[in-house]
Subunit: 343 residues, 2 copies
């Protein structure tokens, strides 16, 4: 079933998942195309971003953002075209970046929507390296990681849209950069295409030993996207005064209970104390949204100059979104996963 | 046995403790008074500071500072008088703050030694509110905690030399300050003398519930001195954007193994992420030593004005030091524990 101009396909949250989202989590509905009121515009979503944070919005556990309500449309960043507009600064045919959700059509009063004009190059990149994941990488690394030339930066999720960008910025800033990714193919990409100094496969036997051997000078900055066994291997390698931007913990988003003991919470705190480390969690728009203009200027320059490479994994069809999202949480994505809703 | 001018009593590290230090950990020796070489001075220790960090120096586990070697004198901050000096700026009779260790006499070339002159008021306070613990409190709170008026500050170890000072500075800066201390008498002191808004007894039944009830607006800054069950109660009360200076973890210094599970390391990291918290460990002279002059000026003003109160627990006799130190780790001290080596 393709996008049409006669109705609105949409995924609503049918049930809060216990553990991994499954066939009962989201429900595909066909509804009327919404009618914009005065001061609104109608957007036709062309690209839908899939991002790990969406797992959190499916749960009603306390978190930094309110959960999606049951039977409401699943949230998500989109690149869309304006169908009709009663919002100043937006006209029919404009390409925009919005928060249009898992559906074909969305209404907006323009709040938080960025107009990319009539003919943007690579409009979907606004969901990746030039958008939220790019800002996440840039701000988390520069503001919390505070890299200095000659330091060692380790990046989890190194082939993903955030990690790939973090590592490439680290190289530009003069760091030695070691990535961690899942599988030999991703690791080759991280080294050969993205230009990291090294990349360690966390799925390979002896991962912790291999990682340690690749880091004779320890770790000054660890950009955390993953948690779990990857962090277990990283923890003993952290240097005095290490900085750890905590951006994501994808390995534990589907967890339904705490892992077995011993309890290492005090061990982590003791390490933070003894190594005088800084660990800081952040949510990009809440903490660093004010830096967006500076980011956009610097990053678009780097992308144009070819200093920052970007890989997309484009998947056709809204109906592919639920399975693609589950795969994303399992580490199956290779590059920024985007759903194309319409040609 | 009292301090004499004929020999040097000294405690050396006889054996690294497993768990709590015991009678085999330190050995009291009688030795010659050391003879200063050219460019050195001889110090007679009058006051010896007891501090929780000393437990770490007894171990050879990796830490921020090298361990005390076996059969070497146990390290410690001291207030001393100069017996003889070949160091510029120091003359016989001067009072100094030094790192003279658990002994009657020490040599120094003047490095890191502060001259307090001939007749300082309350010379032993240089081991507390006007010295390392005071700087720890002041720098950890202002540099990492970054308190803003109206915020809620919670201080563990509230009757100790660091915690008491942290809370009083918090009040000066306009925070609501809630202390945590062990026992009703300490809590009364924290409220009535130190002027905290509230103080919760962690030894009382229902501690976690009482703490939660005392903090209807949650916690913006948690100054960590303790860890363990106190942190367990604090964790769910932390607000978005909370700052946690990790200054000490006294509850776990004697631990010989990790606690039973479940493993809450990922839970802590998830909380840091979701609440966008900052957790930072620090070692005061390494991280903030350069701020000492600013600290000394501000703190001595506050102490003179009576805005910062200070409680010492003076214990007579070097031979009391080992037991007094074990008690300190158990939370038995009430105020800054200092050993007086000589009248």
């Amino acid at each position: 079933m393709e996008q049409s101009d006669s109705h609105n396909r949409r995924y609503v949250l049918a049930q809060r998942p216990k553990g991994e989202p499954d066939g009962d989590t989201l429900r595909l509905e066909t509804a009327e195309i919404p009618v914009p009121a005065k001061g609104q515009m109608l957007l036709r979503n062309v690209f839908l971003s899939l991002d790990p944070y969406m797992r959190g919005r499916m749960s009603d556990a306390p978190s930094y953002a309110p959960p999606v309500e049951l039977n409401e449309v699943m949230v998500g960043g989109t690149v869309a075209q304006v169908v009709s507009s009663d919002v100043e600064g937006f006209a029919e045919g404009d390409w925009v970046v919005a928060f249009g959700g898992w559906q074909d059509y969305a209404l907006s009063d323009g709040t938080g929507v960025i107009n990319m004009g009539r003919n943007p190059e690579n409009p979907s990149w606004a969901l990746g390296v030039l958008g939220m994941p790019g800002l996440t990488a840039w701000a988390g690394l520069t503001q919390i990681g505070q890299p200095k030339a000659g330091e060692t930066l380790v990046v989890a999720g190194a082939s993903g849209p955030v990690g790939a960008t973090v590592g490439q910025i680290g190289k530009i800033l003069g760091c030695r950069v070691v990535g961690i990714a899942g599988g030999a193919e991703k690791c080759r990409h991280v080294i050969d295409v993205l230009g990291f100094d090294d990349c360690i496969d966390y799925k390979a036997d002896g991962f912790a030993q291999t990682l340690g051997a690749a880091l004779p000078n320890g770790i000054d900055i660890y950009f955390e996207n993953v948690g779990g066994a990857v962090f277990d291997a990283v923890l003993p390698l952290l240097n005095t005064n290490a900085r750890i931007p905590v951006c994501g913990l994808i390995s534990q988003y589907n967890a339904t209970s705490l892992p077995d003991g011993p309890d290492r919470m005090g061990l982590l705190m003791g390490t933070i104390l003894k190594k005088r480390m800084t660990m800081r969690g952040f949510i990009v728009f809440d903490d660093f949204g004010h830096l967006y203009p500076e980011f956009a200027k610097q990053m678009s320059g780097w992308v144009q100059d070819g200093r920052i490479k970007y890989r997309e994994e484009m998947i056709d069809g809204l109906e592919q979104a639920p399975a693609a999202f589950v795969g994303l949480l399992k580490g199956e994505a290779f590059g920024k996963r985007v759903i194309r809703l319409a040609k």
